[in-house]
Symmetry: C2
DNA sequence: AAAGATAGAGACAGGTCTGTATCATTTCAA
DNA sequence: TTGAAATGATACAGACCTGTCTCTATCTTT
């Protein structure tokens, strides 16, 4: 196989597509630009991916894996500190919000861009959020919270709200608000038995 | 002026565009479809609007006014009940979530669809959220809350989170979660003096 | 070193989109 | 009733998009 760059053509395409799809959007990013910035011929692209939708799906799967791993790693590190609760998630999020190229959640953005049609992309986006909620519930249970499922549903609302507010305002202080709200979930549960 | 329909051509265009822009998205909705469903000629369209972007801006301004009025009316009605707090906002939102053609917040969707370019549409979207936050702060102050600005910032996070969760899951039960979280803002402030 | 596979570059077809121009018809006003 | 303006329908130009095809150069393998 021809290997002019350290990465394979497929990986270069995926890397370029990840950057452009997230920064500019799915529809706004054309194949021509992806192959130009990847230094790849069009036919080489279509030998690696059946269609643009295929590339989008692969981008989302890869981003899901990377995002979840980063989130899990950050949260587990925070939970190692005694007394830590769900609010450590806000710190992980805030670090993300502070990145200069932060532009919201790729999966929310995909849902919005895809419209009412329920394509594969939307399914991947929903699956991402479902897996995140499952993880949050698992952490809530590990923390000994009484109703992990309810807590996770509320935490998801807070997390998504923080992401969208960070995207809308561009102000990372949203992370602090998110932290307060997640901490309140603990306090509220302690004071209201089911 | 030619008046075959009860509404003027401009109003018919705006009505059709509002429906399609919200349901299908801004980019996914073409001028051809708007004029076809409005029963209007292309030149008549371009006599009323300078460009598609002009129509989008007008759609957003109109939707902003209508949405704010509806929200204000619902909240004020809820606040008339003694003892009511910010959580009445969740009831207004839940009624919205239950509409069959609910597809999230048009202004969040606009922000996502517009990408990194800061066009007029993005400015209108941000202005909408700013005005909403101002109103929430005003209500918080009226309710005698200690820090209306902080409360409004947190309420905005919760509100946006509820909207996105309702859009993502399609489950109106999100309204109930939103209600609990907004009510907690009151309880939390009462127990934590600045 | 020679032959075959693979790569990049670019032309091309077919589709969609925005915005303009044309033309016959209808509506309003004098 | 007659002339002027507005409307509907449609064709058109220019741009962009996806996906296919061709040609040449380079790399791999034998």
């Amino acid at each position: 196989m021809t290997q002019s760059s350290p990465l394979s053509a497929r990986d270069r395409i995926l890397q370029t597509a990840s950057r452009l799809f997230y920064r500019e959007g799915l529809r706004a990013t054309g194949i021509d630009r992806i192959i130009a910035e990847s230094g790849v011929a069009k036919m080489s692209f279509y030998r690696s991916f059946a269609s643009k939708n295929d590339l989008i799906a692969e981008f989302l799967r890869q981003r899901h894996a990377a995002w979840m791993q980063r989130f899990r790693t950050g949260v587990e590190a925070g939970l190692a500190i005694p007394g830590a609760g769900l609010e450590v998630m806000a710190d992980v999020l805030e670090a993300w919000f502070r990145e200069p190229d932060f532009r919201g959640c790729a999966f929310i953005n995909t849902l919005v861009e895809s419209g009412p049609g329920d394509g594969e992309e939307v399914a991947i986006a929903r699956a991402h959020k479902a897996e995140l909620e499952t993880y949050v519930a698992e952490v809530a249970e590990r923390l000994g919270m009484l109703e992990p499922a309810s807590v996770a549903a509320m935490a998801m609302l807070i997390i998504e709200g923080a992401i969208v507010r960070a995207q809308m305002t561009g102000d990372p202080v949203v992370g602090g608000l998110c932290r307060i709200l997640l901490a309140q979930l603990k306090a509220a549960e302690a004071s209201s038995p089911p």
